[in-house]
Symmetry: C2
Subunit: 511 residues, 2 copies
Amino acid sequence: MPSADSLLVLKETDNVAVARAPLADGTIVTVGDRRLTIHGDVPAGHKVAISDIETQAPVFKYGYQIGVASEQIKAGDYLHTHNVQFSSHTKPSPDDFGTRSHELPGLPARTTFLGARRSDGRTATRNYIAVVSTVNCSATVCRMIEDEARRRDLLRDYPNVDGVMAVTHTLGCAMPVGRGTDILRRTLAGYAAHPNVAGLLVIGLGCEGNQIDQMVKHIVLRPGTPIARMNIQFSGGSRATVDSALAAIAEMLPEVNASFVREERPVSELVLGLNCGGSDAFSGLTANPALGYASDLIVAQGGRSVLAETPEIYGAESMLVRRATSRSVASGLLDMIDWWEDYTASSGTTMDANPSPGNKAGGITTILEKSLGAVAKAGQAPLSAVYDYAKPIDTDGLGFMDTPGYDPVSVTGLIAGGANLVCFTTGRGSALGTRPAPTLKLATNTDLYQRMPDDMDVDCGPVFTGGASLEEKGTEIYNALLDLASGKPSNSEALGYGSNEFVPWHIGAVM
Amino acid sequence: MPSADSLLVLKETDNVAVARAPLADGTIVTVGDRRLTIHGDVPAGHKVAISDIETQAPVFKYGYQIGVASEQIKAGDYLHTHNVQFSSHTKPSPDDFGTRSHELPGLPARTTFLGARRSDGRTATRNYIAVVSTVNCSATVCRMIEDEARRRDLLRDYPNVDGVMAVTHTLGCAMPVGRGTDILRRTLAGYAAHPNVAGLLVIGLGCEGNQIDQMVKHIVLRPGTPIARMNIQFSGGSRATVDSALAAIAEMLPEVNASFVREERPVSELVLGLNCGGSDAFSGLTANPALGYASDLIVAQGGRSVLAETPEIYGAESMLVRRATSRSVASGLLDMIDWWEDYTASSGTTMDANPSPGNKAGGITTILEKSLGAVAKAGQAPLSAVYDYAKPIDTDGLGFMDTPGYDPVSVTGLIAGGANLVCFTTGRGSALGTRPAPTLKLATNTDLYQRMPDDMDVDCGPVFTGGASLEEKGTEIYNALLDLASGKPSNSEALGYGSNEFVPWHIGAVM
Ligand SMILES: [Ca+2]
Ligand SMILES: [Ca+2]
Ligand SMILES: [Ca+2]
Ligand SMILES: [Ca+2]
Ligand SMILES: [Ca+2]
């Protein structure tokens, strides 16, 4: 029985489409005004050729070449490892930069959100007082300060303040000097000086490796930001430190409240962190490309959007290298890949350059196609910048930040870099939520959206089942991001997530 | 002016004593019935010979040889690097085991405490329901369960239950297989099956590397312990999981409450973890040797006491090797030292085999003397066992566990191994506190004790100033430990410490 909805075409320039449901050999389907007869039994989520492809000619999915035909392919043929191959995983050269053209979507209806401009030109989407610990030894005191501020209802008369948030971690002492310590300091400094933070307490123990005075030097605070610092050893111990901190907060509150005024701001002031976790076979078909469309809408208006998770783009570097706006951006990205190869080797493991059996069962044919799923979050925009973990996101357009794939660590790097919004896609389900920048969570499938109704914000399942086009869903996500930026709480914010999701990347020995 | 209190003799077999205050050249002091004339200006905390020492003869402090005289030394001479040397830091051989004799103190007045015997023969000092997360992604739900149990006052009718405790961490996914994953599973399993845990919830996300089913296999639960396990992805999301967990806790509570009955138990059922952090020049003179005396009192009665912090005994392996009860214990300890040398080298750092300039200014002459400060916590008992990180502490007597020096990580390993009490010494001040086993904190000096009155439990300063002998202070610590084991809260327990101090040792890459 022919159906207009049996196949999902991800990009108009593609020569493959994805089966929305299992298609038996001989089924007749329509794609636009073409009628195709399916050859082979195609599982749901697997690929079908929608035009003839000559031997050795490129196979395109979501606008990218994912491999070449290893034999003559006819429109309607089932496509997988039997007739598509990716023969050589050759490293791209930085000189390949700029060789991929791209087109961004036109201007959407909404081009502003309600944000609060800060004195340094950055724009806040939330308004917190942060209580940052230098070391695990002061973590409990920091959390007591947050809990006690809530218990005493300190914010009662300050409606423009979203909360007192403890920023705690397991590190800060017994670490050798080097990249690990640098990353910790940079990450803490990024949270302390985040546009969504308007008052700061830094709490140390007193004898830790990561001394307050050293750490505070790394924080580029906006002039006039109220700050208090105290060491438990010199403040009378735990209870006395909590009391002093609460007094300091009470003193800061009027100013922190008054300085936050939401007004209409252009989308160019958004800094969006892109992330995914618990991916499934739908991730690359629904939520990720729909988010990519939303990301392109933001980039098209001069905003910033940042992809991350270096191990998850492995094998697909060329896709991003060809989109790089300069040789230095391209070589910066390739250096990050190199570092990961060395790092994993020295840790006794490897980066995997092949789709797993599970990936193949899900319809993934080549490593490029696998990483395409992850990279689809970044849309079509040119790659304008690369950032080391937690470094300031200072360039308009699409960027890439070097982070692990592990969700809390990756998102922490993006927020430390100044992301004032995060968008996270998941197929299996995720319980992530963040502060001081909020996270919007996209379900790749409707089943998940219905199973975790209090956690997931947007259902991208209809893209697969035919209820919405990628552009429609992408526009819905874009609008949801603008609402979130304007102060509407995400589900994870309403649940109170964010304290345990701050996890700075830890590299190096614990002594 | 002669004074009986000018010198502190740490062990009767020593040929050196420590100046309690600065002693000017020519001062006359008494030691027991001897009168000595001080030669040289001796800063407080530095050493004086109390008998003549021939060239190349051994110098003993706290019962150990810390070096040899590099010239003829007379009773009353100031001793430091100018006349004492430690010429070769040769590695001891495992065949050196058992070459050091030792004497344990006689039986003290108190030989029992009030503990609750469990069905596996271990003895509980507290009674918790643990809510263990498999992965950081379920950490917030675990903490919500703890908070909500408190908010709803679920324990109101169950006076024998000390609390519902979330056991959360930053790990559990994106970790390569290997020692890192093994350690995480073992540590979580050790907490889950701790004698102080009588009801267990294991909460996962659903798609993490550290799957619930795999993890639960590692937990050696006492038969009949109530357990509930749930994955957020299959339990309706965050809020629904919290609700299900609270229902499961409500069901467990009557049994968890009824099964905990304190009765008089012998000291042989104590398992004491020894630790220190923020050490100062007094650590090795007051709190550490006084704790060592208390540890010996416990070991003398068939109890268990476990030293840890491998990097902090570096250079003094021979002290412990000579106390080892077998060749395999000695070689196990030496293998741990070897591993740390290789590990720190591969992490681009080193173990330091020399006292620092700050140590020397504090009166530390040799690396042996430095590590003696740390090892003094373990008293004089023979070394009966060595344990890999978080492995079950299954041998009576003194043991050694391989852990980093970093306080929360080291203490977590000891509790995972089954310590039902921890004793922690500090000179600079510490805000550590633990669950499900409580921690007693000893101040090495009175100034600290007075500066952090709500955190520190025992003041060991009088040992230095002459107000108490080591034996007196050690007995006071021993009695305080028995009170703590019997249910008297430590200061850190009263403050509510323990959630953020669970930090499993992390080795290996974050992917
Ligand atoms: Ca801009
Ligand atoms: Ca991820
Ligand atoms: Ca025993
Ligand atoms: Ca320590
Ligand atoms: Ca070696």
